[in-house]
């Protein structure tokens, strides 16, 4: 187990490095820089700005400088939001994005696993078909459709919840975005859980447990649930990536001050440091999440713990 984690960490470093270098090179290759904006600048001002931001050095040097700075936590200044450094923007936006993403994941797991277990236990009957049908429908609902739809229905239509914006400490602003973000994942998790549990309930060791005279509830809880959740644990890695992506939309639709929205703005306006910083950060987060998923997998299935 430890060997596996170590190996994961070791492959993570080149991956991250690759991401940073790739993004860096891409941004530099883009025609036009951040200052090719509305007003044309004269040569001297341009040169001074370039020097100040280090844009005139050769590419290789820029990369090395950048990596050095990242390691000390300095992602550079934002070129567009000029009063802030990227680190400050990250510090502002990341907690919000993580809150939304984290709550959505929690909701998705609760709904998904609960729904999946119930469907598997009632396999073949109408509850099973109903839950699975709903789950399939949910996976087909992109966030950018459900987001505006919810606003339409619950905010504009019924007036229950606020349309957009964010007030610190106000949970009502979080409900719609979190639910919209969570639903497709709840559907996917429900399907995986149901399939996993239905398969587990047919396994030989479950038959042994039933033969022993255990009540069905105990059979499921002690013997069938953990192997059933293995596919869900594998899914958590891609789910994390998906949640981060979905958070981008949700933040845009609901005008929430999260990192995703800053990223899109930065990308559209060529704010290199911001874009690079966010991409690197997100890559790191996903790798971390995959690691957590691996640990979970090992707990669910001891055979994976063997070196």
């Amino acid at each position: 187990m430890r060997a596996l984690l170590l190996r994961r960490l070791l492959t993570a470093i080149p991956t991250l490095l690759g991401v940073v270098i790739l993004s860096f090179v891409l941004m530099r290759l883009a025609p036009g820089g951040p200052f090719d904006g509305e007003r044309a600048l004269d040569e001297d001002t341009r040169a001074a700005l370039d020097a100040a931001y280090g844009l005139d050095l050769p590419l290789g040097e820029q990369i090395i400088l950048y990596i050095g700075r990242i390691l000390s936590g300095d992602f550079g200044p934002s070129l567009v939001y000029q009063d802030f450094t990227v680190s400050e923007l990250i510090a502002q936006g990341l907690p919000n994005s993580l809150t939304i993403g984290g709550l959505a994941l929690l909701l998705a797991c609760t709904l998904g696993i609960g729904g999946g277990v119930w469907a598997a236990v009632r396999a073949g009957r109408w509850q099973d078909e109903a839950i699975m049908g709903t789950a399939t429908l949910l996976t087909a609902l992109p966030v950018f459709v459900t987001g505006p739809l919810f606003v339409l229905m619950f905010a504009l239509g019924l007036g229950w919840l606020p349309v957009s914006g964010w007030e610190a400490g106000s949970p009502s602003h979080l409900i719609l975005p979190v639910v919209a973000l969570a639903l497709p994942f709840a559907g996917a998790i429900a399907k995986l859980t149901r399939a996993g549990l239905a398969r587990a309930l047919n396994e030989d060791h479950v038959r042994t447990a039933r033969a022993r005279g255990l009540a069905e509830r105990q059979v499921i809880a002690r013997h069938a649930l953990r192997p059933a959740l293995v596919p869900v644990a594998s899914y958590l890695g891609p789910a994390a990536a998906g949640l981060l992506t979905g958070a981008v939309i949700v933040e845009t639709v609901f005008a929430l001050p999260g990192l995703g929205r800053y990223f899109v703005q930065g990308a559209l306006n060529r704010d290199y440091p911001l874009v690079l910083g966010v991409v690197t950060l997100y890559a790191g987060l996903i790798i971390l999440f995959n690691l957590v998923a691996d640990i979970l997998y090992g707990w669910l299935d001891p055979r994976m713990r063997a070196e």
Binding site: T136, L141, V145, A241, V278, Y282
Partner: protein, 263 residues
């Protein structure tokens, strides 16, 4: 007509409609009807009404569907080809080749690909070719893993060893025995990939990074509809509904095929 064919039939009907109907309509997807701006449903001459600028929504929806499906199919095929070749080679040769190839796939899997794709869009401009490539580049990873898994399982089956004993060279075994047995699963995953691609493309378009004017896609239509939804909810619901319908049907068809094959 079995149940598993029904979803595919629905998608086929939508696709055919998207191809055939637009030339028959009085309005194109970009022509502006100055007299009928924000027309409601069933307005004269505009079955679905018009948008904020006066363009016919029926035409726009159909053309948008056409574009979305075309992009999705093309990108999914790109993913299929790259993924299958990669996975088959890694699975068949095994050993160090397999390790190296799959290490790359694992590394790429961890990337926040969406962000890299967005980066690419921004850098290289918003061309439709790039949309294909970008999306295909994201989706081939899953296909590669699935195909590799299948090939490895098949490689150990006695009928492959028997084929070797029968004197068949590796190339014949791959084309005659392995690929036909992989084709089914690959097709199932293709059907599952297309909806993924549809969502990615729509997502990009929603952000303004995908398909550009004068072309339109379902993602763009959803965005435009969302912007104006308090006044014209159907402008959001119709393209949104078509999008969701296509995704559901393809997902169901793909899953049924996959389940039938893994029995």
């Amino acid at each position: 007509m079995t149940r598993s064919r029904l979803p595919l039939l629905i998608v086929a009907i939508i696709a055919i409609a998207a191809l055939i109907v637009p030339p028959l309509l009085p309005w194109t997807h970009s022509a502006i009807d100055w007299d009928a701006v924000r027309a409601p449903l069933f307005a004269p001459g505009h079955l679905f009404g018009t948008d904020t600028v006066g363009r016919d929504l029926l035409a726009r929806t159909l053309v948008g569907t056409r574009v979305t499906l075309a992009v999705a199919l093309a990108a999914a095929l790109v993913a299929l080809v790259i993924g299958t070749v990669w996975g088959a080679i890694a699975g068949w040769y095994g050993g160090k080749v397999d390790e190296a190839m799959m290490r790359l796939v694992d590394g790429l899997y961890a990337l926040p690909f969406m962000f890299v794709v967005i980066l690419l869009m921004v850098v290289f401009g918003r061309s439709i070719i790039l949309v294909f490539i970008g999306i295909g580049a994201v989706e081939w990873l899953t296909m590669a893993r699935v195909v590799r898994g299948q090939v490895i399982a098949l490689k150990e089956r006695p009928f492959v060893i028997a084929a070797e004993a029968a004197g068949a060279p590796s190339s014949r075994i791959l084309t005659g025995h392995i690929l036909p047995n992989v084709a089914g699963v690959a097709l199932a995953y293709l059907l599952l990939t297309v909806p993924q691609v549809v969502m990615v493309e729509s997502f990009l378009s929603f952000l303004g990074l995908g398909v550009q004017e004068p072309l339109t896609s379902l993602g763009i239509l959803v965005k435009e509809g969302a912007d104006d939804m308090d006044l014209q909810p159907h402008a959001l619901l119709i393209p949104g509904g078509v999008l969701v319908l296509i995704i559901i049907c393809l997902t169901i068809a793909g899953e049924r095929l996959r389940d039938r094959l893994s029995r």
